[in-house]
Symmetry: D3
Subunit: 65 residues, 6 copies
């Protein structure tokens, strides 16, 4: 505890995720005073065509740029 | 706000998702009186062998039809 | 199918949620061509002190306004 | 109802998932006294490089073994 | 691993939940051959006015019965 | 993007959550090189009787200690 889910656009590298796991675990340890062994982190990678905001699908937004 | 997650069997096209993002965002704007720019939608695509109902895995249900 | 989760700040009335369920179900029926009886919607109500954005907890943002 | 999400490392076979759907549905029927037709189960398969625990990304843990 | 979320209408007692945790953990152990200490279960209790199906909010369905 | 959900036992104070939002947002900015304004964090507070691990409901574990 806690269990942390990070929903992000696909494309982040394992190294970036590794770095974030280290930093996030340290942040939780500091803020919530819990042991590092109790922090679980799950990444959920989202494709552009599975992400909608401002009434539009993100993959279509690229076309407009 | 709000953040909407749509968990659906894989196979919906980007066009169908784009259409739903438009309709859903308009629905939220009407019902919740929030600005379109505050509505975020995430699609989660599920394989048949990752979906169970009525005590059976959906991918096995096809065999029985 | 689909299963839809709407994460929103607490305070929306049952009437607003009822209205959104109607509109959302109709939107899914149109966009995904699925039967109304297959659409499930879950609301998750979030307190201001459980929502962080732009590096700040939302409940603290009010103080600054 | 209920709606059950099982987040697990990728690699479980359809047969294992089918077996778990049967057992889980029976367990819910026993414990919650609900009809089997009301139990929905979703599997979410996670890659090793999307799972962090104890301050480390799981895919890097293999290298240390 | 795995991490299991059970979304259910509020009202189940701690004893019912305790019984389901025991049965579910045993089911996962059998089906996925994982150690009991690796199974985590989270209950999410939903109010009737936060659950919509078949185009209607569940709390309004009671009125129609 | 990203959208981060933190599922934790209830009891953390708004100040602790505020501190974690600051640290987590900074961590994401560093690791993923994204702007602070794009990071959203949701806390989900869990009661002891809604959390099961090692085949037991957490609220019952206290009794055994």
């Amino acid at each position: 505890m806690p269990f942390i889910t990070v929903k992000v656009l696909e494309g982040k590298t394992p190294e970036q995720k590794r770095d974030l796991v280290k930093r996030m675990t340290a942040a939780v340890k500091e803020s919530f005073d819990v042991d590092e062994n109790k922090v679980f982190i799950f990444f959920e990678n989202m494709k552009k065509e599975d992400y909608g905001k401002h009434g539009e699908l993100y993959s279509y937004m690229d076309d407009k740029k």
